[in-house]
Symmetry: C3
Subunit: 298 residues, 3 copies
Amino acid sequence: MTIRLAPETTAATTTHDIVERSIALLDRVRAQPPLVQCITNSVVVNFTANVLLAVGASAAMVDIPAEAGPFAAVASGLLINLGTPHAEQREAMLEAALSAVAHGTSWVLDPVAIGSLPVRTALAAELVAHRPTLVRGNPSEIIALAGGGAGGRGVDSTDTGDDALDAAQHLARTFGSVVAISGPIDIVTDGTRTLRLANGDALLTRVTGGGCALGAVMAAFLGAAADTASTDAASTDAAASAGSADAFDATVAAITAYTVAAEIAAERASGPGSFAAEFVDALAKLTGDQLRERFVLA
Amino acid sequence: MTIRLAPETTAATTTHDIVERSIALLDRVRAQPPLVQCITNSVVVNFTANVLLAVGASAAMVDIPAEAGPFAAVASGLLINLGTPHAEQREAMLEAALSAVAHGTSWVLDPVAIGSLPVRTALAAELVAHRPTLVRGNPSEIIALAGGGAGGRGVDSTDTGDDALDAAQHLARTFGSVVAISGPIDIVTDGTRTLRLANGDALLTRVTGGGCALGAVMAAFLGAAADTASTDAASTDAAASAGSADAFDATVAAITAYTVAAEIAAERASGPGSFAAEFVDALAKLTGDQLRERFVLA
Amino acid sequence: MTIRLAPETTAATTTHDIVERSIALLDRVRAQPPLVQCITNSVVVNFTANVLLAVGASAAMVDIPAEAGPFAAVASGLLINLGTPHAEQREAMLEAALSAVAHGTSWVLDPVAIGSLPVRTALAAELVAHRPTLVRGNPSEIIALAGGGAGGRGVDSTDTGDDALDAAQHLARTFGSVVAISGPIDIVTDGTRTLRLANGDALLTRVTGGGCALGAVMAAFLGAAADTASTDAASTDAAASAGSADAFDATVAAITAYTVAAEIAAERASGPGSFAAEFVDALAKLTGDQLRERFVLA
């Protein structure tokens, strides 16, 4: 199966277009599992791998020097998450980012808790200069990455999404990246287009890795979208045949799948412990109809 | 809301006093989430973060040199757990402990599996000399930290709580620390006061991190208690207004909340796998009435 | 209780023999919990520890230089898993392997994702030369370890079990190791005997660590079997008295217990998230009758 998303709809002008494109990309992830390399923090690495497997992707946590670069050359997508940036990981991150850029691998930068913490803040500045395909963070992190503010309180943001929109658009235009600001309303911008997505559940913030694992899912959808972009027009799947998807579309699709699954899981959960398992189950069974029924823009 | 625990009850002479003080501190954790820095082992780091979020605290696993120290200066509480003490973590632990002491941040030392393992045993000796607010460990670890015994069998204790009481009181008097000895009966001493707490369930020992995550919860309650200690007498919450809580009270409150939640979870679980999720759910929904109904001294 | 498995049945000629020997070893694990040292990857370390506890073993993730070697001397079994081989872990792995060999500790090598990734591939070649008691891997990893192929796609195999059988038998004869090839059919060979085991469920491949944790369980069963081998003929438990078990038997028993528990869990799960918890519960409650009812050779 190949996917073609119609060029004229890439501006994502309607809810219907966004949902159908998201469903097509989710189908693509499942049909041709992207191999997602994660260089991520020790707190969330297990949850992240399980979330990737649930959404249909393959996970490979290749995060040491001399392996991270070669692997980024062949991976479908790459996540670099700065949550616990030990020295070997920092070296691996830079190696992987350079390799991803050189080989056209889509990559996501998640600048966790930057601002006042010096090591990761300097590292994030160095990494973003390599022009990640996508930057995701909470409002405080996005503002800090753009050179403003002093960051949040640990991993918690002290700013709102709209506080960070100018910073996000500035980053997007400077580095050619899509920028996703997390929050009750997720904001996605590429400097020109901006969407506000309203699905999700607060329980996602009560499970560690609720945000970090989304970065990995974004890398999976970016990998799937990159495949569509390089695929010929001939498609055997009429429903999915709607033109090529770009990084903006992939980011929106990843957030949509992720946050709708969170809503479904929240309805079944008794608290954050059961939510984590329900969320993985919901992701694994997520259907196009569930996305159609629940998707909502802010 | 501010909390004042009556000075005359700090000796915790009655079950009623202990429970009400514990409830007041749990409310405090939830109302003013303490930011808990954890430098902990790779095995339990995810579970620890989820437990902290469930109890109402914020978690930040800032465990690299050059970041651990500055963060400990602003964190509400700090956990140093020696479970997998890699070189960078060891450096970060010392940096964080010094910073915590310098800035008055309450901190917990959990000397996991010390005794015969040389690296962590030497490190624990160095750390305890900086006078942690609280030391928690199993009986073998407490005995080893006090300079006796050869430690347990890996992470399992080969001694009983009462075997370790002399060692605990010696540590408490030498370093000015509260000492908590884990076991079917949890023992808390500050060298003068000693309490034996009888809640809990054996399933806690069947989930990795069942003990380690309690160290993080203790750091959260210490952070909340430190806030009460520096709060003026004026309180807007009559029920919670009972004087200032000290490290001894905070330790007892953390154990109480944790072990009562474990009992509730055990009643709902079918084994250690479901117990882990039920425990997180139970912590998140724990009520004062549940503590009142179940709390029991040995 | 001591276990004697009858010498004349060590060739495991019948399904009945295999099952009864597996049950005897499971009972042994629970009666005399082997202390299993794991030097394993950051992704699965938590799940691995919980699986070990569920099966009845004790887990100790001692993975730093200067501690890994001394601990391997006293552990019942050792797992070396190359999933995220950071520099300190690599040093600890070599130290532990040498110590295990010197002290007769059974050890398992899991050469995760070797083939094209240079650091771990070289390390696996160095480790296997120390003659592990058991090597487990997917077909691509086994082929790569034997010097053929280029490995799989990250952690996923691109070969089938029977593709890897020649490589496995070559490894077994060269290094005196039992070799277990994972897959829908698990193949165990010591170069002479070969068994194909058909239990399990595809959900095991949807949970990260589904394979890696089995390596730890194998180390637990090897530890239990080593105890039986050194135990005198006198047994107080008639049911379990059936002669000494060797590494081949222990490997088969570990796979049997693990994959039967997976089947039971799969029947109760709603997806990979709930499966992980159900699997731990099922392992903890696994009975001999469940093994008798479900065990099947391919």
